[in-house]
Symmetry: C2
Subunit: 430 residues, 2 copies
């Protein structure tokens, strides 16, 4: 092996992922040495509350601090690892570490979605690495795949199951017939969902990750706050059941594709044909399906969260920075993504699943189909289900249509008095 090169780490944040990283550094010390020729020494760990007990012991010789400057201002530290999450103080910390000429490894998708362009520019000016494999899809090597393996491709589309919490909830509803609230409670009990699950179940976590993937696919900045985002909150188990009957699973997708009018991107629950690998992603797993003009379709599936899988992704970035590989942070020569031209969400075209609950009156179907026809939307299939407590469920599977046409049809039906509940519209994949 010869002598090992010493690489000194400063880690900000000692939660789940920080603990996972320390575990990996200790349990895989030999593998790391064999693969990188380096000995990784943790010099400083910064936490908010130094008195809190931790499940993972601090490495020998490491100093616990509550001052982030003990990392950014320490010239002995080669790589600053940001695992705090949130916007501040993480952003100031990363800025400070980059400005001090340190490589930075982070798992912070919310921060990168919002300030990634600025931070990438700073890293590029300083000639250091800003690596973020752990920020999307946990242990799945999607960032590296997009930077390196797709180098000879034009990316056509990205479809990802990027939020394990939402996928766990939908899987529980599908396989165990639970309703939304009980599935969410189960996710919280198992530690898959936070006490405040807003970011996860309302789709924002997926939107942050999709923003990063768009940047890597096309070198373009899609403003996250312009993205149409619909989560799974309040998902009705009726729709899960009907989707299943028709051969689909409902999944929360982050999707983006390049169109001649700009990037068509969004986050929404969608019916995915059961024969698709994406439909087979169960529990808290994540998956990404890429389509590119040379590669064709590529599907990656793995653990989207958890101490060790996410720690593994952080570790691969640390090794890359130590090895001196991956000089490109953005995957493009231009280290600063350009603003994307975005397809207006209402122009986005997709097949749809519509579900109404109606009174059993004459003329109802005639009115609904009339509203769709008037907006040029064509129907693939109509299924009337048996009457339930709320009324008669009526499902219309639509051929591909622009969102604005479907919305206009729904608006024109408005609050018709034959509607017993707000209509539900989901996109359909496959």
């Amino acid at each position: 092996m010869g002598t090992l090169r010493k690489i000194t780490l400063g880690i900000a944040g000692f939660g789940t992922v920080g603990g996972g990283l320390l575990q990996i550094l200790s349990m895989n010390r030999d593998a790391l040495a064999a693969r990188s020729g380096c000995e990784f020494v943790v010099r400083t760990v910064c936490v908010r509350d130094a008195s809190r007990p931790r499940g993972v012991p601090l490495p020998e010789g490491a100093r616990l601090t509550t001052r982030l400057a003990d990392i950014t201002e320490d010239p002995a530290i080669d790589i600053a690892v940001e695992l705090m999450g949130g916007i501040e103080p993480a952003c100031t910390f990363i800025r400070g570490a980059l400005a001090a000429g340190k490589h930075v490894v982070t798992a912070n998708k919310a921060l990168l979605a919002r300030h990634g362009t600025e931070l990438l520019r700073l890293a590029s000016e300083k000639g250091v690495r800003l690596l973020y494999e752990a920020s999307v899809a946990g242990g799945i090597p999607i960032i590296q795949t997009m930077k390196e393996s797709l180098a000879g491709n034009e990316v056509c589309s990205i479809d990802g199951i990027l939020n394990g919490t939402s996928n766990f909830i939908l899987s529980e509803m599908t396989s165990k017939g639970r309703d939304f609230d009980s599935a969410l409670a189960e996710a919280q009990r198992l530690g898959y969902a936070e006490a405040d699950p807003t970011l996860d179940i309302d789709g924002w976590d997926t939107a942050h990750k999709l923003t990063l993937l768009i940047r890597l696919a096309w070198g373009l900045d899609y403003p996250c706050d312009k993205m149409p985002v619909q989560g799974i909150r309040g998902m009705n188990s009726m729709d899960i059941t009907y989707a299943r009957e028709f051969g689909y699973r409902i999944k929360l997708l982050g999707s983006a594709r390049m169109t001649p009018q700009g990037i068509d991107a969004g986050v929404y629950p969608a019916l995915v044909r059961h024969t698709y690998l994406l439909a087979r992603v169960g529990g808290a797993f994540n998956a990404v399906r890429l389509e590119a003009n040379a590669l064709g379709a590529l599907f990656l599936h793995g653990q989207g969260a958890g101490a060790l899988p996410t720690g593994s992704a952080v570790m691969s970035d640390i090794v890359a920075a130590a090895r001196g590989t991956m000089p490109l942070n953005s995957g493009f020569m231009s280290q600063t993504p350009l603003p994307a031209s975005c397809l207006p969400p209402e122009e986005s075209v997709s097949p749809y699943y519509l579900r109404f609950i109606v009174k059993d009156n004459p003329g109802v179907l005639h009115t609904l189909t009339g509203a769709l026809a008037a907006n040029g939307v064509s129907i693939a299939q109509v299924i009337q289900k048996e009457e339930c407590a709320e009324g008669v469920p009526l499902i219309l599977m639509l051929h591909a249509a622009p969102a604005k046409a479907v919305n206009a049809a729904l608006d024109s039906v408005g609050r018709a008095d034959f509607l017993c509940a707000e209509p539900v519209a989901f996109r359909v994949m496959g």
Copy 2:
């Protein structure tokens, strides 16, 4: 963009993959420039027969030659791309190019399985890159994932569907009820199988690829000729049908796992539980499932062959060499893999599917179960199927047992006169 750096290529071999690479160089010129800052110029293409017409035009300014030395001896060429396949003259060509200080990109698994260690050593001595992403699983970025993304892991196991031809044949037999010969003929008609399909259907192509994956997982050399290799030639559609009835699909797997006694590796058709993603790999697709101690399970699925997907993998290596990334050819500091200690194949432990065709005599099941019991093999399930033309099919699903115990039991039954056909034994996954 600024000025592009010129990278000069010499390509040996102008078959399917060579044509795909030239197509990518031309159709994705802009994407390549944006991602690498380079202009890739093909200076020389070497073919066996210069008069043969080609489907893809030669790039402007490129010279067609039949002399490999026109590439290896040309100091203007930065990267030599070997796409001829076979052992010679490919080996001499790569050796020559490395010796001349050129980076080499190859898709040649048979050559790397046999001479990889020598060639990796030479590349390391010369300080150049020997990259081979296209040699395993076509467009799937498995080589890079193992080198980079698993850097912080101990790899536990690899299970791959690595031969598209065999998977296509098994898929046709499963979904269309074809017999082996007709499925093979269909694969040949569609261009998925060569006129001589030996390497594919007898498992050797999978064995070559598995040898490369073992090297990347553990930095160890498993001698390919010591590996137990069983292909799918003559697969009986009866077993496909029974497997399906029990909730399994038969797949040709290349599998390796680290055990305390050494690497347990082999190529064999196996029953894979239908809920596993590996069971869902259809047609000519490839997939790899990795398990590692931090990452957990990772599943990659994509096009295992074809001009553009394989060309895409070749292209990603060319870009990596041009970018100056990935200085490690082997994924380990030691660029020369050490000899592996191999688990003797007869010690390998697995659940099994056994299928007999027997005469409808009294005592048959008693004799069979006795032979298993005498060898310490325990039975999970016995299914007697309805009598067919050849006799009565009898299926025994076994709990995990060492191969030697199962083989000894089969040997002791020997050529018992109640056997109407040679017994069939397949491993079971899941």
